[in-house]
Amino acid sequence: MVVGKKINRVDAVTKADGTAKYTEDLLDDKCLVAKVLHSTIANGKVLSFDLEEAKKVPGVVKIITSFDVPDIQYPTAGHPWSTEKAHQDVCDRKLLNTRVRFYGDEIAAVIADDEIAADHARDLIKVEYEEYPAIFDMEESVNNPGDVPIHEEKPNNVIVKSNYEVLDYDEAVKEPGLIKVTGVYETQKVQQCHIENASSFAYKEAGKVVVVSATQIPHIVRRVCSQALGCDMGKVRIIKPYLGGGFGNRQDALTEPLNAFLTLQVGGRPVKLMYTREETFFGTRSRHAMKFYITSYVRPNGTFAAREIVAYSDNGAYGSHAHALVANAVNAFRMMYPVGAIKGVAYTVYTNNPTAGAMRAYGIPQIGFALEAHVDDIIAKLPNDDAISFRKKNMMQLGYVDPGTTITCHSTGLSECIDKGREAIGWDEKIEKYKNQTGDVRHGVGMGIFCYKTGVYPIALETSACRMILNQDGSIQLQVGATEIGQGADTVFSQMAAETLSIPFENVHILSQQDTDVTPYDTGAYGSRQTYVTGMAVRKTAESLKNKICDYAAWMLNKDRIDLDLVDNHIVRVGTNDVLISLKEVAMEACYSRTNSNHIAAEETHHCSDNTYSFGVCFADIEVDIPLCQIKVNRIINVHDSGTIINPQTAEGQVHGGMSMGLGYGLLEKMLFDPKTGRMLNSNLLDYKLMTAIDTPDLEVAFVEPKDPSGPYGNKSLGEPPVIPVAPALRNAVYNATGVAIDSIPLNPEKLFQEFTDAGLIK
């Protein structure tokens, strides 16, 4: 068995010894440098550019402005393209934009021999604008859109408004004796903060434009570039080398389309477009800030009778992933506690803030905070329920079929996750111990649960292809379009291939780079889909390859195919398991046979038409220093049901990363903007408070492993989910410690100061 084993990452050594090549490591010495000029107003129009001084800077090769780009509006979201027009992504940006929609919009680009010349020339470009009033608040944007819409296609600034209703809400609230609980919950805009900034370089070769880029979605980026340039897809080639993190930001076309265009403006000479940290902050994507109005009607016995949500999502200046995130959020509002009548309305809104896009768990950390905070607010008003009993009574059960999406609960270990976490943190004793505290420093415990889909079916296409090639020594080449972005995908794919083929793990050689001219199709790393969807493609391809190997062995050995199998790297007789010949001998013969050479390879597509839910819980035990407005996390544990864990070692690492991101989300991180201009104030890692190692408590991780019947190896999603339950667990722990229920994050010192002052804890 290789699946289920702790195995070191396949890329561990090459990343540790520095031989792994990232985008910047592959640069041509003669690469030109492009620098983007960003707008210094948040809403308006460029009237003219004065390039005279900029052009005089020695080393400047060419300056391209928003007046020079094709009149094509293209989409950027990393979604599989829909061939139905109604489901296609929003096409609302050009390569450079004359109509400026946020402070930092891309309006011109300088191409120069080196960075200093490019920077210098960019600073010398003079821009004349016509300025419109900017709108930074999402509700204001809907209620008061102003005379000039942010995009003329959406005169009300609403990209999409959607709604649903399960059962009859108005009827359900009439039930006598219900307890009504309302709350307004807000989550902030944060950034993915992958270590490697947005970076690419592009050149022309053999009539094609080639873009080398740190992307999660090479095949999608190829399509987006072809749309942006107005050329055929076959004329674009995307190469994805090793990559320094993505977390959803690179589930979008970022610098690639413009970079492809720029190389074509200088005769195909290589041009690099590497964003700085500052530009990556405001000029790429971020997590949507959302605001939720929730009303619940609960029976005194602790069950939901009815529940309603109105959700707003701040999409910023451009469409990107648009409504998909808040739709995901209000769907999870329904799925998490599918009890009683449920009604949801969601708005995705343009504002003059930087664009939001995909980020780890795609709308669910937002609703996870709001809903789990709301649940604790409900419990406070119930006579006979506690945090655990109420959740267990109302949460999703095995066999649930979601009425909105048809996604079915094929397996659940959520109840066991809660029990395991409760025991580990010492929940019951601590609830007792932390009652009736006084003094400056107080302790509290809190929890939050979640459910999460696995991949994007049936909302979008789920498809994946895989290729395997048998080497002469019996090892295989494994190629997938699914991407390794640090999460460990290549390692688990290799385990899956070794498992199904029954060959040693080290005999699987996976190609970590994707090249759209060579690599099988896959939509890429997002939605925690790859171990599930690509996993099925790997399994199917391994079965196919195994079949071909056995076919060949049958010819070699002059036996019936039906009597042979590949087990433990050898061809064996079915039934007795007698070893007949090694795989290596079969592979050598297949390659070099003078009478029947056969270069054995397999390639399969898996079209995925299923989905399933993963689950989990976070328990936190904290202390709050009230006068200093500081939270110290003493213990924190995530317990996950992600079905069968393919690799416990990398899975644990994945949970650590997610918890760290959840801690930052709950406690510290927030993108800040100048309220007058919309300029980002903290676009660097000093002022943007990403947690450091020393700020991070010990992260405890446990798994519950019900085998999921729909997963290729019993597995379900794990990549994104660990981030979800952390922030609400922390919020609920602060509530438990201090009696102060805080309805927005981050719970940073300034926020705590306000809240504790309002509550009379600080005088």
Partner: protein, 293 residues
């Protein structure tokens, strides 16, 4: 790529002073942890620098004949923290500079650079203020001594003329003898962060340890420059130690400070920290000095 215009490389202090008098607009490059960031930002793009980094004469710590502790300005933060003289006589300073940035920054950043930058959040500044440090400033015309109290001229502005270089930081014996101090840095993160507020307190108790003989309190980020709080100090000097006294001193500190609201923190929150950090630093200093509350 860093956008420098000229880099001058002196071999001795004399050469550095000569270069500085010839190029008064050139910036002194010590550790570089502030200047390089500003060059990258574009604020100092195209500047001239005099790189004194290799001048070992400007590095190190000693006790002079009169008992003064002399810290040369190029001494790195990590060397200050681990220096036996600092550990023995000025541990509060060693602790304060250990709160700066992360290990790499503390290896390259220098105490001279920290105070010549003139920013209110400099972690070494409040402690040096609280210990009445005296600066040695040199030029081709000679050396002048200046109380650090008079050095700050405003945010990012210090009393250094175009031809001058900081060559020494002294803490007199009378200032540290029988004196126990505590620095508290309040920042959102515990590393790699800038102070929301810094508070450095030191006390000398009476022989019976019952009263405060001398208390000195200095803050960073409580105003445009690192500052002392004379009203609070005056109130504490000579008083019997009680919890009430500590509260009174902290309250009095509020009358001396001038924090402002910025997007990093509100004035109200800083006032809360000024009071609370003062109390906690005072209590710790008193305990270190052998007193009880």
């Amino acid at each position: 790529m860093y956008d420098f215009n000229n880099i001058y490389q002196p071999k001795t202090i004399e050469e550095a002073l000569k270069m500085k008098s010839e190029h008064p607009e050139a910036l002194i490059l010590a550790g570089g942890s502030d200047i390089l960031i500003q060059v990258r930002d574009g604020k100092l793009a195209g500047c001239d620098v005099i790189n004194i980094q290799p001048l070992n004469e400007l590095r190190g710590i000693c006790v002079e004949d009169n008992g003064s502790i002399l810290i040369r300005p190029l001494t790195s933060f990590s060397h200050i923290t681990k220096n036996p003289i600092i550990e023995k006589f000025l541990p509060a300073l060693g602790f304060a500079v250990d709160q700066i940035g992360g290990p790499q920054i503390r290896n390259i950043g220098t105490i001279g650079g920290n105070i010549c930058n003139g920013v209110t959040s400099a972690d070494s500044a409040s402690t040096l203020k609280a210990y009445d440090a005296v600066l040695e400033i040199a030029s081709v015309d000679g050396i002048r001594l200046l109380p650090y109290a008079d050095f700050s001229k405003g945010p990012g502005k210090v009393d250094l003329k175009g031809n001058e270089i900081l060559t020494g930081i002294r803490v007199p014996k009378e200032s540290y003898e029988n004196t126990y101090g505590e620095y508290m840095k309040y920042s959102v993160r515990r590393a790699m962060d800038i102070a929301t507020l810094g508070c450095s307190v030191n006390v000398r108790l009476t022989d019976d340890k019952k009263s405060i003989d001398r208390v000195r309190i200095a803050y960073g980020v409580a105003g445009p420059t690192p500052m002392r709080v004379p009203t609070a100090e005056k109130l504490g000097n000579g008083k019997v130690i009680t919890e009430q006294l500590i509260t009174d001193i902290a309250e009095a500190a509020l009358t001396d400070v001038k924090p402002r609201t910025s997007w990093r923190a509100s004035k109200e929150f800083r006032m809360q920290l000024i009071k609370e950090l003062c109390k906690r630093s005072l209590r710790t200093s008193i305990k270190k000095a052998g007193g009880t509350i």
